[in-house]
């Protein structure tokens, strides 16, 4: 009996040791999962129709990382940028996010240009508990959804942009009739919903709403309907190529309403549309043209040193996106410092404690733990730009501050 009892005791001891070992492995695994690498991942459209937009983000993000590393990095670690190409496709963006979160084990991820790609990341980011900071994609639904814990943004938000643009369009309209033109994409349709909501909040209705397909070369039909509805100011959600075609269609018809556009259009519109772009106004967060503060001058010089293709500030085709990306990296770095360790959960909590001055805005605090304040850039920091003599300038530096477009 004694022998049997000893054997049983030994087996019990072995089982207990095995359980302890397994628990130890588990704890070790958990600790390992919390210990993220000092890299910032990104899924961008490095090839494809909007590859130039990804490049604009890369300029700002790289400059910020260089700046941080020159000063010793974060918590003694040098930051790295790990960027993968999603070719503008949401499914590839999801694959890339999984590589960043699971294989590369990065501390955070930067967002890109396209709203549908950002929306596709909502679930995977939540599963991986990976903080994501958007830099351009302005769709309201990217941030404002009930379960959002991990997605932040240093960019504009369409819900706020729509109200901002609508107010300016109403100021410029002589007939009091403001219309809306939007591209037939998720971003454009989201913009329409936001503009309708903004109009309802202000007790007005949009006099006409028109859409067009990507690649359309002639928008005469839509413009004729807007003109016949008496619209003399337009809120516009479109991209460079189609907006250039829209301006040509206006030129054909001799119809020149005031245009207030979301930032799908950038510095390239002036190249594509030539003098027809004069006076088109665009919402944004930053311009690298004109007189710059000292800090921005330094960032511009750094970007020009890193990327020789930036010969002049006019080569920054999405000036706001570049500045947003620069600020986003600094906010992530500051959150890591506050967290005191490379732990995604701790960094997410620290995001609400970041207080700093960026190129775009004073972030005090950068974020707040409520759905509409996972956006760091509030409407107070939104600015209006206008095309003048082939350049996209702050509207104050142009003759288009209040006047409708010149005929």
């Amino acid at each position: 009996m004694r022998t049997v009892s000893d054997g049983r005791r030994r087996r019990l001891l072995s089982a207990a040791l095995a359980c302890a070992a397994l628990a130890g492995f588990g704890l070790a695994g958990e600790a390992h999962a919390q210990r993220a690498e000092p890299c910032i991942g990104a899924s961008w459209e490095l090839t494809g129709a909007f590859a130039h937009q990804a490049q604009q983000i890369r300029y700002g993000a790289t400059a910020a990382i260089e700046e941080i590393n020159e000063k010793g990095g974060v918590l003694g670690q040098r930051l790295r940028l790990v960027a993968y190409d999603d070719q503008g496709e949401p499914a590839r963006a999801v694959d890339n996010a999984r590589r960043i979160g699971e294989r590369d084990n990065c501390i955070a991820m930067l967002g890109g240009f396209r709203t549908p790609n950002a929306i596709a990341l909502r679930e995977p980011l939540h599963e991986m508990e990976l903080p994501w900071v958007g830099t351009i994609s302005a769709g309201t639904a990217v941030i404002e959804f009930p379960t959002n814990k991990w997605m932040f943004r240093v960019s504009m938000k369409d819900r706020w942009v729509a109200g901002f643009l609508l107010d300016r369009a109403r100021e410029a309209s002589k007939s009091g009739k403001v219309g809306m033109v939007y591209e037939a994409t998720a971003w454009g349709q989201g913009g329409l919903a936001d503009a309708e909501r903004a109009a309802a909040e202000r007790g007005v209705t949009l006099a006409a709403k028109e859409t067009y397909n990507m690649g359309d070369a002639d928008m005469s039909a839509q413009l004729i309907r807007l003109r016949d509805a008496g619209v003399d100011a337009i809120v516009l959600y479109g991209n460079d190529r189609e907006v250039a075609n829209l301006l040509r269609s206006m030129d054909r018809l001799g119809y020149r309403p005031a245009i207030f556009a979301a930032w799908g259009i950038g510095a390239r519109l002036a190249e594509l549309a030539g003098p027809l772009a004069e006076g088109v106004r665009v919402a944004g967060t930053f311009s690298w043209l004109g007189e710059l503060p000292d800090r921005a001058k330094g960032v511009l010089a750094r970007m020009q040193a890193l990327f020789p293709e930036i010969r002049t500030p006019a080569d920054l085709l999405h000036p706001s996106g570049t500045a947003n990306a620069y600020d986003a990296v600094h906010i992530i770095a500051e959150a890591i410092r506050i967290a005191g360790r490379f732990d995604r959960g701790a960094v997410r909590e620290a995001m609400y404690k970041v207080n700093m001055t960026g190129l775009v805005a004073d972030y005090r605090p950068a974020f707040e733990p409520r759905p509409d304040r996972h956006d760091a850039v509030t409407p107070q920091a939104y600015r209006l730009f206008a095309y003048h003599n082939g350049q996209l300038l702050p509207v104050e530096q142009t003759p288009h501050r209040l006047a409708a477009r010149a005929n």
């Binding site: 090839t47 494809g48 129709a49 909007f50 590859a51 130039h52 037939a184 028109e210 859409t211 067009y212 397909n213 690649g215 070369a217 002639d218 005469s220 039909a221 839509q222 004729i224 460079d240 190529r241 250039a244 075609n245 040509r248 030129d251 054909r252 018809l253 001799g254 390239r268 190249e271 594509l272 030539g274």
Partner: protein
């Protein structure tokens, strides 16, 4: 009335582009009973290469001419490398895959070297629109229907009055018999693909100042041109021209009077219905084969 005229003018312009693309498909089909499925790529090259040559300092017309010459050479090379070797057997379909592959390669190479963005091709004919009874159109856009009429008339003339045209018709009628009477059918097919390349490149060059020349500008246009060719009856030169123009006008009237968002869905449905009732195409001949 002014609005209707506006839609008509815009439809004639874009319809002429569809017609030229469809004409290119018809010319290729005549000679080889095969086509370059990525014909939209040649249309794109006509515009993109004109922009590139203009960057190199060539004046507009010279840039356009150079772009067309290079595109014609590429069109001929595609026939030689991607169609002929895969179209030897009766009912061969390998050329479908190879021409699509060639198109993808050319488009990717263009994106890699020229960039993903569209670029303008400056032309004095898009500086000011002209007014016709209140409707506006750029003179550059009026060149498109003019070019279409010129090309169609020239092709008719070539087909009917020249040795080359007779050879093209002979090869189209019976490739083996044409060979037996001393016609080099392979050479004639090569020339047909080059002619098609010329038509596509000319359309791309003419439309580039109105839209922007980009590596993707040929995708939708190529698809619609092919659709027009099939619905019209790909062996009818006059048919593809007429249906191409009508398709462009139909699109604009749909945009104007029915729905902008539903334009493509409605237009494509109309085309499918037309094909349902006229399986050989609206102007196609019933093919009778003795077996």
């Amino acid at each position: 009335m002014t609005n209707t005229l506006q839609y008509l003018l815009a439809g004639l312009s874009i319809g002429s582009v569809y017609a030229m693309i469809a004409l290119g498909f018809a010319v290729m089909w005549h000679a080889a009973k095969a086509v370059n499925f990525s014909f939209g790529t040649l249309f794109m090259l006509g515009g993109v290469l004109a922009v590139v040559f203009s960057w190199r300092g060539l004046p507009l017309l010279a840039a356009g001419l150079a772009a067309i010459v290079v595109t014609v050479a590429i069109a001929a090379a595609i026939e030689r490398a991607f169609v002929r070797p895969f179209n030897r057997e009766a009912n061969a379909i390998g050329w479908m895959l190879t021409t699509i592959a060639a198109g993808v390669m050319l488009e990717s190479a263009t994106t890699a070297t020229y960039g993903s963005l569209g670029h303008p091709l400056p032309s004095p004919l898009v500086e000011q629109p002209v007014r016709i009874a209140g409707a506006g159109i750029y003179p550059q856009e009026l060149l498109l229907p003019a070019a279409l009429i010129g090309i169609t008339a020239t092709l008719e003339l070539v087909y009917r009055r020249t040795m080359l045209g007779r050879a093209l018709r002979a090869v189209a009628f019976n490739r083996v018999a044409a060979g037996l009477v001393g016609i080099d059918a392979d050479r004639i097919t090569l020339i047909a693909f080059a002619i098609a390349g010329f038509v596509g490149a000319l359309a791309g060059f003419l439309v580039a100042p109105v839209v922007q020349a980009s590596s993707t500008m040929g995708v939708v246009v190529g698809l619609k041109g092919f659709l027009v060719a099939i619905v019209a009856g790909i062996d009818s030169t006059r048919g593809v021209v007429l249906v191409g123009v009508l398709f462009g006008v139909l699109e604009k009237f749909l945009e104007g009077y029915v729905s902008t968002a539903g334009r493509d869905a409605i237009a494509f449905t109309a085309m499918i219905l037309a094909l349902l009732f006229f399986p050989q195409g609206l102007f196609g001949r019933r093919l009778v084969q003795k077996v």
